[in-house]
Symmetry: C2
Subunit: 306 residues, 2 copies
């Protein structure tokens, strides 16, 4: 059996080290240096070239290198009989939650206001806190952990998602009541998976239903957000600001208006980065399970898209 | 019975509204308009003029308007027989913890680095997290809550204080082992009360015992920090940065070097502001207790200084 790592443009050394420390005998081939495609039974991939997987006649398992699988599902040439799994990594959840809590607190405590005041040497003690109710779009492993941490810190949290939820721990709005959800919150966190239903969901129509001055945090995928609609919503006051980690084109092009917009805080897709050491045991375990025909961890439902 | 509110230079209207909503019949006099000093049995004060309390011959209770009492204890003319109480307010604790968690997360996730990168349009995904162990100096109501929240978020926390602690929930170093404490942490949060023992504790000698690159968060009192020693420690690398909410002189003078130091994030003493609505019931309850000679809430030990 051979594992192929396919992650064009990225260095795979940290992954190889982590995987080999768990299974020293495993044969690993790294794209584009795949000398023996017939031996490849498992691919571990991120943004693979479309159609590539057809070159592996004995492929038994496809694993995403992260939580998202939209980069796999968009390749319609993949044999639907081959299972797809993804990484659900506590360290990844931890990082994502920390990032979102940071973004919420910086908005609630108006960090950017005090940073502006510092430059002008202004001492203004008035109204040091903004009242916030945090709406989390997407209440899977990541979104739920964000809600748990914010609720423990005594912030009101409300969930929204595309499936029915019974006995959910927090107030929850299904997709039919997006408007009710938006009216109940003033901080909007997007942690949805990227699917046909969620692509472009953060658009002018949604922003027009928000409470004026709502703050947006997008840590899911760039394609959730219609970027020109964000600028429009900031201009017309429906949104008061945004913290973004993901973009339609990454790296964000130098000519992109977000770079120079003071209402937007940017980070370069670092909210949650899969950690090879933490995630590799999951890959190794799934390779074992596929070999012995056991139920896979974090199996993706192709219909749902996650 | 009359209540005197003494808070020079500050508007007391929010306090009056909150107190009257609980006890509409209470007679309230606001300094400097105190027409009937003989009626004053309770003073509610912040930064009162030294010696003023001698003008109230029937004074039975002194209440700070916040958590700190150093502004009261420095007035040596106050009759030692009159009890001093302070406000221990959950809302105040909540605000303080939120501020500290925000400061820790901004350091851990290097917000200022990404803010600099944004200005230069730099996309740098490398090393998105700094490892942190948070040392909390002062583990009273405020410090303990900070530790609880950070521990729930899975950050390592360590306490330090001036009293022995048995069966403390987290690792704890008493004053005799300040050096061991400093060697165990790389983020230092000061939440100590201001006493003769703690004044100027954040000085060159302490910074020289820190792990190089330690990050400082001071949300206690300006007098804990020797401000020129902070600049020196930033220059020689013992500290990598600081987030400060309190200063030796407030408002921070325009000529102060902190304003223009990019390594220091400043806020204007807003980390935790006592909320009149949340705190007034405590004042009213203590007024009742002093009347009926019952044990007071949050009584200050003048020897300890808090």
């Amino acid at each position: 059996m051979s594992l192929a790592i396919i992650s064009p443009g990225k260095n795979s050394n940290a992954w190889i080290t982590a995987i080999q420390s768990l299974d020293p005998a495993l044969n690993i081939q790294v794209y584009p240096e795949i000398k023996d495609p017939e031996a490849v039974e498992v691919v571990f991939l991120w943004n693979h070239p479309e159609g590539l997987l057809g070159e592996f006649p004995n492929l038994k398992l496809i694993s995403s290198m992260g939580a998202g699988v939209d980069h796999i599902l968009r390749d319609k040439t993949i044999d639907p009989a081959i299972p797809i799994v993804r990484i659900v990594d506590e360290k990844l959840t931890w990082s994502m939650t920390n990032y979102v809590v940071m973004a919420v607190l910086n908005y609630h405590r108006q960090l950017s206001r005090y940073q502006r005041d510092k430059i002008r040497k202004v001492w203004d003690m008035s109204n040091p806190e903004l009242e916030v109710t945090i709406g989390v779009m997407g209440v899977g492993a990541l979104g739920y952990d964000v809600m748990e941490k914010l609720a423990y810190m005594d912030f009101p949290v409300i969930g929204f998602g595309f499936t029915e939820k019974k006995d959910f721990k927090y107030p929850y709005y299904p997709k039919e009541d997006l408007e009710g959800f938006l009216k109940a919150v003033n901080v909007l966190v997007c942690l949805l998976p990227l699917t046909a239903e969620t692509e472009n969901i953060l658009n002018s129509s949604l922003f027009s239903k928000c409470n004026p001055g709502t703050y947006l945090i997008n840590v899911a995928r760039g394609k959730h957000l219609v970027e020109e609609d964000l600028i429009e919503a900031l201009n017309n006051g429906q949104l008061s600001g945004a913290m973004l980690d993901v973009y339609r084109t990454e790296p964000l092009p130098e000519s992109h208006p977000f770079w120079e917009d003071p209402r937007i805080t940017l980070t370069p897709h670092i909210a949650s980065v899969t950690n090879p050491k933490a995630a590799s045991p999951q890959l190794i375990e799934n390779m074992k399970r596929v070999k012995y025909n056991e139920p896979l961890l974090n199996l993706v439902d192709r219909m749902k898209g996650y």
